[in-house]
């Protein structure tokens, strides 16, 4: 499980043949688009809340790029930047869900 510390892939070999970083960035982009979809759906009932969620989607897009150059530090440290980012997104999604729940309950109430 990645415990072997062979210093292989030297001599300028392909260090990331699976393009893990690119795939992760694309996953962030898809998540940002999902946030935008939720934002548009909320915009129909509550303009302010919808605008906030769309702003979050822009922030998620940006955060997806950010780790790319913070990786170098994350590797040396303990992946704290990644933990913070993931916590941020998890909180955002939970809050957006709760906001949507409130909107759904208020409808026709």
């Amino acid at each position: 499980m990645g415990r072997n510390r062979r210093p292989d892939n030297s001599a300028g070999g392909d260090r990331d043949p699976g393009l893990a970083r690119e795939r992760t960035q694309l996953a962030w982009s898809r998540t940002a688009i999902s946030f935008a979809a939720v934002g548009v759906a909320i915009l129909r009932t509550d303009r302010a809340a919808g605008a906030i969620v769309i702003a979050i989607s822009a922030a998620v897009w940006g955060l997806g790029r950010l780790p790319a150059h913070e990786r170098a530090e994350a590797k040396r440290g303990h992946g704290l930047t990644q933990r913070r980012t993931v916590q941020l997104i998890a909180t955002a999604t939970t809050l957006v869900s709760l906001a949507a729940l409130t909107l759904a309950l208020l409808e026709h109430a």
Partner: protein, 138 residues
Amino acid sequence: MTRTPTDQDHPTGVEPGASAHHEDGSEPDARFTFANERTFLAWHRTALALVVAGLAIIQLLPPFPDIPWGRHLLAVPLISLGAVVSVASYLEWARDQRALRRGEPLPPSRLPRILAAAITGLSIIAAILALLAPPTGR
């Protein structure tokens, strides 16, 4: 992948005490970290899709003629499930990342079971609603 990922990105390995978090073990291969992050993001898209589905039911579906709470019966559990998936996927991300750091096998995920059970239940409710709803005559 025929080649085992290595720790070649982290020649120094652990830096003890570098973090206030209870992070033990050593930094795992960056590809494992990325994969864990993508899994987390995929669950989050699932959560957001559930929220959008719930909102769409409220906003786009015409009300069931004789069952005024019918739309809420579907939408509220869908949106709540979104919140649950969001929190649970964060907890699993943290748990898996810890296992990766320690080089332990990844614990099994509970999310598929939660999601499958919830969607099965919701499908049954939706089917009952569809059967109960009288034809609109249009």
